[in-house]
Amino acid sequence: MPDAAALTIEDPRPPRKLYRSSDGRWLGGVARGLAGHLGLPVIWVRLVFAGLFMADGLGALLYAAFWFFVPLGVGGVDAERPPALATETSPDGRRRLVARKPDKGQIVALLAMVVVALVFVGNVDLSGGAKAYLWPTVLVGAGVALVWRQADNARRARWMEVGRRKRTISLLRSAAGVLLVAAGVSGIFVLQGSAAHLGSVLQAALAVLVGIALLAGPYLVRMTQDLSEERLMRIRAQERAEVAAHVHDSVLHTLTLIQRNAENASEVRRLARAQERDLRNWLYKPEGTGKDEADEPDTLAEAVKRSAAEVEDKHGVPIEVVVVGDCPLDERTAAQMQAAREAMVNAAKYGGDGGAVQVFAEVEGRTVFVSVRDRGPGFDLDSIPADRMGVRESIIGRMERNGGTARLRAVPDGGTEVELEMERAET
């Protein structure tokens, strides 16, 4: 029974697919990927490949096949060399590690390959003719391997968006690969004894290449252009779908509600304001910040806007917010925001008939100033009974307890203005 329980816990892991590992690989990541897939130590798999290589180069063939057909993935076994790998760090750190690591591994791998190849050559008694072709073949092989790995890196770079700095390195690598292959091929030519014709052969080859380029060039260019255009269209279509979804969900919904509540002017106004705010937020907010509706605001501007929006929704009075500058919220400014919110509620409740409530917040140096003004009938603090604590406690009291000042004054032509001033806490 305990076994079964253990199994049910183990089982729901996603089905593992074979990937080549991009972390901590030496060559193509085949061995590491296989090891991860089979749950074996990497070194075993590598040894098996090396052993198979002895068997008439079967290991190399197998390795090449895996390299060719198995897609590159992230992962593999967790390394037996933790300090050098440290894969689960930030993408930035990891990228750097991965970029540095294979360089060392590659040297080791290349050295091992050279040794194994030498052993192989020593063991297998090739005839003199065949032996002569060995070095050109090795050159070609090395060139191909280099270019293939380059292609791998390019694919990986697309996921991880490696910086531009890498481009020169990758170009260099491609060039080196091409050079190696070219050297190997011309070596074979030379060995075949057709060195005398090398010049004319190269010329002919060049002529054919140029001819093909001339014929296929325009098609290739058009194809790449079409491809990029198609990609652009797809991105645009996606964006449009997103806009359509948003408009459909919120705007049409609100419009329906407005039609239903057409007689109720204040409700219509409230709906329209809320929708406007939502839409503006969606249109002008930088990407990725749309989802944090529930989060507590952590800057002053956000806090003011949030409070204003909430009061506006609750009391149905439009509140116009102007914010100049911004700063992170600290204990004092948070208290000031609460006081400002209280002032907005008061303004909406008692002064909302005269028009929109104006809220102005400014951060200037260390001073944070907030003014809330309405165009209502205005009121006299002294005429309010002493037991009404709203203004005295939640606004004036709160500001003074936190080291700020609050002033209430009647605006000459009607309305009330609450001015809140606070020094930001030292940071």
Binding site: K305, V323, V324, G325, E362, E364, R373
Partner: protein, 259 residues
């Protein structure tokens, strides 16, 4: 025949101008009178907005000439139309939307700049937009618009603003005042031109009060200055905004999208 037509023609040509300057003087003299209520004042206006419904709404709200003194002489829905209509009708004030097909309000301003500079009868632009993006707003202002108001403005306030713009005055909505304060406050780079790239203490105070929702009259009372002085401060700020050549401003406007 010629005798009869001559005076009327002359009166027709001179009348609006004379009326405008007269009313402007009167408005300045008695601070209590909003410019809009000056009797007999007329202003010819062209509406530029790509939303027909919005044009109809504005027309209905301010277009009753007998009551408001505003006469809508033309409408346009895109940049080309706008330039044609404005050139043909030569209005005193153009209510200009920021977002327009064909290049936006900035393009209209660019192509109408000779008309704006005309010393005889300058065409003046008031940006009227639903947009809250700072770069849009600052863009049209720097393009030469005399002010910016949001579309939520009431009919009375809009009429008032139109007359103020006709007088050559600047019209700042609270939001625009906020944008300007913000733009001029962030002075990391040393100013290129001391006079232009800095707001005086008084200008700052005036802007602050506008941002807080005060009307010119109220600002004048608050600061113990005349409405005329408030107007000149606001115009100075507008001039600095349009002329100041600090890279700061455009960089600021594009870097932030204040709502």
């Amino acid at each position: 025949m010629s005798d009869a037509s001559e005076p009327t023609g002359a009166a027709g040509a001179v009348g609006p101008d004379a009326g405008a300057t007269g009313a402007g003087a009167a408005g300045a003299g008695s601070a209590e009178d909003p410019a809009a209520s000056a009797p007999g004042r007329r202003v010819r206006v062209v509406l530029v907005d790509d939303h027909r419904m919005f044009r109809t709404g504005v027309q209905a709200e301010i277009g009753q000439t007998e009551r408001t003194g505003v006469e809508v002489v033309g409408e346009a829905a895109d940049v080309d139309q706008a330039v044609t209509v404005i050139t043909a009708t030569r209005p005193e004030v153009v209510l200009l939307d920021v977002h327009l097909p064909g290049g936006g309000g900035v393009e209209v301003l660019r192509r109408c700049s000779p008309l704006m500079a005309d010393p005889e009868q300058p065409v003046r632009f008031l940006a009227l937009s639903v947009s809250d993006a700072a770069e849009d707003v600052i863009g049209v202002i720097r393009g030469g618009a005399r002010g910016y108001v949001t579309k939520t403005i009431t009919g009375t306030d809009l009429v008032d603003s139109v007359f103020r713009v006709q007088d050559g005055d600047a019209v700042f909505s609270p939001r625009l005042a906020g944008f300007v304060l913000d733009a001029f406050a962030s002075t990391d780079a040393p100013p290129v031109d001391e006079d232009l790239d800095r707001l005086t203490q008084r200008e700052r105070e005036v802007l602050r009060l506008i941002a807080r929702g005060y009307a010119y009259k109220e600002i004048a009372k608050q600061l113990f200055i005349s409405v005329k002085t408030v107007e000149s401060h606001v115009s100075a700020v507008l001039r600095k905004l349009q002329l100041s050549n600090r890279h700061e401003l455009t960089r600021w406007a594009t870097a932030r999208r204040l709502v």
